[in-house]
């Protein structure tokens, strides 16, 4: 039985439609999963940022008890730091934590400046070790925060780009927020 020309065309049309539908569905699934994965990466990186902050908070009692033996460090700074540590631990929301952290950072910065201004402090091993640990913690925070922002950028760019933005709309994805450092230089 020979197929009529019309039938051949309709079969081709059906095949093409099916292929297009399958390709679209596959694309939707891949895009959706990609967005989910990137969103998860942002979350897990935020946990990593929290992690290194916790490390800094844990360092504070030791820092305060060690450096309070030296009069070069201002007593008021040390009191503030202890106070802010308690506030941080009692903070319930991320926003509160970030606020306290920013104040804490500026207080800790004065500790490091004091240390750098007094060479005789630098010869005391206990103080030096603590300052190295503190600097290391600061640097870890900077690093993890930078990666967090990179992941946020990846996700946001993907989410807003056409045509993935449709999937993001249907999938209820929300734009993620960058974590700006208060000490960061202004954008160019």
């Amino acid at each position: 039985m020979a197929l009529s020309k019309k039938m051949v065309y309709s079969i081709i049309a059906i095949i093409v439609t099916v292929v297009v539908i399958i390709a679209t569905v596959a694309w939707l699934i891949i895009t959706y999963n990609g967005l989910v994965r990137e969103n998860e990466k942002v979350d897990s990186q935020w946990a990593q940022v929290q992690n290194v902050y916790q490390r800094k908070i844990d360092l504070i009692p030791n820092l305060v008890s060690t450096v309070s033996a030296y009069q070069q460090f201002e007593a008021s700074t040390l009191t503030n730091i202890t106070l802010l540590r308690t506030q941080w631990m009692n903070a319930n929301t991320t926003e509160d934590q970030v606020n306290v952290t920013n104040q804490l950072d500026s207080q800790l910065a004065t500790i490091i400046v004091t240390y750098e201004n007094y060479p005789d402090l630098q010869s005391i091993t206990a103080v030096r070790d603590l300052i190295i640990e503190l600097e290391g913690t600061e640097n870890r925070i900077t690093t993890e925060r930078m990666r967090y922002n990179e992941y946020v950028q990846d996700f946001n760019a993907h989410m807003k780009s056409f045509p993935a933005s449709f999937v993001a709309g249907w999938g209820d994805f929300e734009e993620r927020e960058y974590y700006e450092s208060p000490n960061a230089p202004p954008a160019p």
């Binding site: 290194v52 900077t142 993890e144």
Partner: protein, 234 residues
């Protein structure tokens, strides 16, 4: 056919080399990378010997990088980015370590991979550098400072890190080409033969490969660091 081939090849070369041209941070070709030439090649070889030992005993990848300047990034960011781009340490274990010396800034930084943070806490790294690195750098003796520091860090890793011993890539005549002598001879023969047959056009292809192999002296494991370690000035 022949007249189509050449332009096509040229386009392929262009496209591929574009892709690999994102190199703002140094490619670490082997354990010691000295961009300032403060070390002689035999001195580099001595330091590399320590790194090879550490790698063979524990699998940890220790690299040394000497640059003129880390600006505008600053030494902290420069170290983290160079570490990550090159992927020091095995992937997942993150057992890499980078000793970075910036000559113009009089600054050093030792960047410790996540996996080595436990055995090399910041204070310990700082003290190792204060004893072994800074005094020598202060008098311009880069070799002794870097050698002693690499050695001290290497001993810490070998003594305390429970890694997986690895086979070093160096048994080959050319360390960054994983071929035994007779295989190498075969390849060189083949390249020579092709060069004669294609009247030299094969070197276009060679350009393409050397682009991609340029950074592949040692194939690093793909590890990362999280900003741990210590830094200082002299």
């Amino acid at each position: 056919m022949k007249h189509i081939l050449s332009p096509t090849l040229a386009i392929i070369v262009l496209v591929l080399s574009q892709g690999s041209a994102i190199a703002d941070y140094p490619n670490l070709e082997y354990y010691v990378t000295d961009q300032v030439d403060v070390l002689t090649s035999s001195e580099e070889y001595e330091i590399e010997g320590i790194c090879v030992d550490v790698y063979e005993l524990t699998g940890a990848e220790v690299a040394v990088l000497i640059v003129n300047s880390t600006l505008p990034d600053g030494i902290d960011l420069f170290a983290v980015e160079t570490f990550e781009r090159n992927g020091l340490g095995q992937e997942g274990k993150d057992d890499g370590l980078l000793l970075l010396v910036s000559v113009e800034e009089n600054a050093w930084r030792i960047e410790v991979g996540y996996g080595l943070e436990g055995i090399l806490p910041d204070a310990k790294v700082g003290n190792i550098a204060a004893t072994n690195l800074e005094p020598y750098l202060a008098v311009g003796d880069y070799y002794t400072g870097i050698y002693e520091t690499t050695y001290a860090l290497g001993v810490e890793i070998v003594d305390n890190y429970d890694g997986t011993p690895q086979e070093s890539e160096s048994p080959y005549p050319i360390p960054w080409i994983p071929l035994k002598t007779w295989q190498l001879a075969l390849v060189i023969g083949a390249i020579f033969g092709l060069a004669v047959l294609t009247k030299g056009r094969i070197f276009l292809l060679w350009m393409l490969f050397s682009r991609n192999w340029g950074g592949g002296g040692k194939s690093w494991g793909g590890g990362r660091s999280g900003g741990g370690g210590a830094k200082g000035r002299w």
